[in-house]
Symmetry: C2
Subunit: 400 residues, 2 copies
């Protein structure tokens, strides 16, 4: 959808002549009361569910959660996925033309905030004739948008599902974002953010950024379970050569266990640059893949939006005071091994909402997968979401 | 000290014609029984204590722990600090000349292991006429060397102090090392490790590596306490301008609290590249400083030595079996907020030593500072070290 009117941004700048990519699923009911807005995090888009015709592997990023008969049931709800501006998956972003200059925005794309995105989402809903959302839902940075909806447009949202999120970033969170940004910005191919004109992409920086990100999405536990200290399997020939080259150490020979034999077969490469461990191979692969499609300016902008989000800031840091404006009912979900947005951060939100006597449900899911858990299938997690939407549906049907 | 004989390395390569820088403190007693070897971690050297004449700020890295009357009392013990080869603080390393080629080693410096360092340290002791150490002591990677001493030379070490260490790296530890290495290796100024010939230094990569390292040395708690979400203070002029430019938001004006005023004064810069938060400023400073003096090849080599250390590996992963060779008495210390080498990892060592009925003391210190705590003053920590050395002294004096 195209928007001609300029959108005033929190920074004082404005965005004009922009478009937002969105997808909808299910049917808006006659009373227009069953709309659910799904907000995305760093590396996602408006394509929240389903697959595109003729495209294998085009599944939406929350396809396990959203669809016919799924926890957020598109037979009952009208689901809207919208790509935030500044992103690189369809909506106006740094790789688009700046109407003021005729040039690609690049580094000149205005710095945006969670609040700006919510404003843009509200305008999209206006254009769709939807006054009130049955619910707004998001995980991680998406959860921050869901929370911000309840503060910016308290009259327009009845339920908010805030998953694996936080009331703001900690110093450590900001630190990881900053390292990732420095990796991108100091890549010689970044050219101050105007790399498009130079026909380059700061892939080195994007790879490092993604590798750092991935470490923080996973838990130490799941990394140990999935990768541990496993070495990248040598080719059979290498293994044989290694086995022949290594004299059987007295100790190993005397024990002669299969495990000891494995250790001999999998000799270290003694290299600082070759892949030695599986975890290295995994991270390099993730970094390479990401650098092929993600926009470097978008990475800077979205991590900064994360840094800046802090609804308590204008209230002297008093979160309870800040959340006093919210009138929605809340479901908060956190995951025990999530050290990026730990359960403690969700509990801060729960406390602040309870201080305001708001209706809050909270589920702390015992999951191994760290922050990534919010995107994965876990029967306890999905059943909490399913029953919450069932209760929302009941309340909608109970409406006059 | 110069060593003419080639040192065979675990990789199969060897190091010849090398020298080790070392310092000693205190007096070796007549019986040569009071020597304590102190092993260093990534960014440290043989200069463990004291200051150089006429040089302010030249304090040794463990000066709070080692010296006359300090927990490791140099009035009683003969303390040896040795710089490991491959490092960049004096001993033979990648920036030195390879005697085989006449060229600077650079990327050709052989990959070394903790075990190789311990072998070199043992040769240094041989040359000094010291057969048996009263104790070997180290923190982090230095603790791995202390542990390895008890396995490689069980007859030559009576006590081992293994502080903030681990029996090996977890997948997450390796992952952080790998990202740091990739940042260095993909810096165009790295030139495959032969940057010396190009007159360049891969400072971008070194900065990123150090920033990542620093995040993992600190705890989330101490970062929040020291930096939190504090913004980098704007200059008075900027603050005034920001205050004048921002219309007093209805909400803020109506509350009019000093806190709200602060929030207005410290407006965001809305920039992705400027420093906005104190934590960013701190990390950039640490990265810049480190890139001025640390060698990139050394960084790769030392992080790899960390990755490779795994005494249980040749025993099918059975740490208890691996530690069976140790005969020393042990003190292990860990710090509650250390998530790089967490208390859990020290407890693994304690368990494996107890499985072998070894004499083990273990202190888990409730400290805020994360992994860095092992370098800092904490009365509980230093008193544990002090009394352990007092008991070592008693046992020495009780000797025939």
């Amino acid at each position: 959808m195209h928007f001609a009117a300029a959108l005033p941004l929190q920074s004082g700048a404005s965005l004009r002549d922009y478009h937002l990519s969105f997808e909808t699923y299910g049917q808006l009911n006659a009373a227009r009361t069953n709309a659910v807005l799904v907000c995305h995090a760093l590396n996602a888009s408006h394509h929240v569910a389903g697959s595109y015709v003729g495209q294998d592997k085009s599944e939406g990023w929350w396809d396990n959660m959203i669809g016919p008969g799924k926890p957020l049931d598109t037979n009952k709800f009208f689901v809207i996925g919208v790509n935030n501006f500044g992103s690189c998956f369809g909506s106006t972003g740094p790789m688009h033309r700046n109407p003021d200059t005729g040039q690609v925005y690049g580094a000149d794309f205005p710095v945006m905030t969670v609040e700006d995105w919510v404003d843009a989402q509200a305008l999209l809903l206006d254009a769709m004739g939807i006054q009130t959302l049955a619910a707004v839902m998001g995980g991680s940075l998406g959860g921050m948008q869901a929370l911000s909806w309840t503060l910016q447009y308290p009259d327009r949202v009845r339920y908010a599902l805030v998953i694996a999120s936080a009331p703001n970033l900690t110093a450590e969170n900001i630190a990881f974002n900053e390292v990732a940004r420095r990796a991108i910005v100091t890549d010689p191919d970044f050219h101050g953010g105007h790399f498009y004109q130079h026909g380059t992409v700061p892939k080195r920086g994007l790879r490092i950024a993604r590798m750092i990100g991935h470490i923080t999405y996973l838990s130490d536990d799941v990394m140990n379970e999935k990768f541990g200290r496993q070495q990248k399997a040598p080719s059979p020939v290498t293994a044989l050569a290694a086995s022949a080259a290594l004299p059987p150490a007295g100790l190993l020979a005397s024990r002669g266990s299969p495990a000891a034999l494995d250790a001999v077969l999998q000799s270290y490469k003694y290299s600082t640059q070759e892949v030695e461990f599986q975890i290295e191979s995994y991270l390099r692969y993730q970094g390479d893949k990401f650098a092929e499609y993600f926009d470097a300016n978008t990475y800077l902008l979205i991590t900064r939006a994360l840094d800046y989000f802090d609804p308590a800031r204008a209230y002297g840091g008093d979160l309870s005071l800040a959340l006093g404006r919210a009138t929605a009912k809340f479901l908060l979900v956190s995951f025990t091994t999530d050290w990026r947005f730990s359960p403690k951060r969700s509990r801060e939100l729960v406390k602040a909402l309870l201080d305001n006597k708001r209706d809050v449900s909270y589920a702390e899911i015992d999951a191994l997968h760290g922050h990534d858990a919010f995107l994965l299938d876990d029967p306890r997690y999905t059943s909490v979401i399913r029953s919450y939407f069932a209760s929302i549906l009941q309340s909608l049907e109970g409406q006059p």
